[in-house]
Amino acid sequence: MAEGQVTRELPLDGRFAGGASVSVRPAGAARRVSLRVPAESVAAVSNSLGVELPTRPGASAQAGARAVLWLGPDEWLVIEEGERYPMADLEGAGVLFAAVDVSHRNTAILVTGPAAADVLNAGCPRDLSLETFPVSACSRTVLGKIEIVLWRMADDAFRVECWRSFSDYAFDFLKDATRGQ
């Protein structure tokens, strides 16, 4: 049997774009879960995850290295950047819900800097002013021709979650948008 270490390669490893006012770079590996939870199960699932599922539209919640993003009235995206396994934590919830491990379906791009919102607006039609899309806001939306999940992590820092197979397109689109920044 062959010996050796298997190392994970992320689709955008080593890529970078940007200038003085913005940087576009891939996020690290993360575990992700697509969650569908009916209202009566929200409390128990929140308990198992260790993060309160936000029920306000467009809200996110964080505890340690784990974040839960509201995507729809009964739908959330869990992102775990630490060592824990959200799927394992959900096992004992004892209530009705659906969880699908989508860790490798998505990859993420971090867009940071004073021009971050402008760069995203090159392909995202949303109003990204702090009044309508404040820090911690999240949403499924579009970037150019693809669907993304956008999450504002700070005034000038966004996380773009996109499907792995679309990640070249997403990165190149954002790279083009950084020209002159």
Binding site: G58, E75, T141, E147
Partner: protein
């Protein structure tokens, strides 16, 4: 670009996030196996296509994913209101088909 209010996201969103999904408030006949071909055709194929206020289903496809209903004026393209799927068809005070647009 049109801004459409999603009743589930509770805010106006750009039209690129949405898909039109046909006429609203069409109930599937409960005795579908018994009705005539003509009655089935009426239910399945025929649509009102009004010039004026139209009741439509829309889906917030690249948002919360939900279907909802909207009242849109087919001449001005103006969205008069949106409401959640399953809520009753609203009674409009605005002038109806054949009258001047608001």
């Amino acid at each position: 670009m049109l801004l459409i209010r999603c009743p589930y996201c509770e805010e106006e969103r750009p039209e690129l996030e949405f898909r039109h999904a046909g006429e609203a408030h069409i109930a599937r006949p409960e005795n579908i196996a018994d009705i005539s071909d003509e009655e089935f055709a009426q239910y399945f194929f025929y649509r009102d296509n009004p010039k004026g206020m139209a009741f439509e289903r829309w889906r917030h496809m690249h948002g919360c994913g939900r279907f909802f209903n909207a009242v849109r004026h087919t001449v001005t393209d103006k969205f008069v209101m949106t409401y959640k799927a399953g809520e009753p068809k609203p009674v409009l005070e605005e002038p109806q088909e054949g009258q001047s647009a608001p």
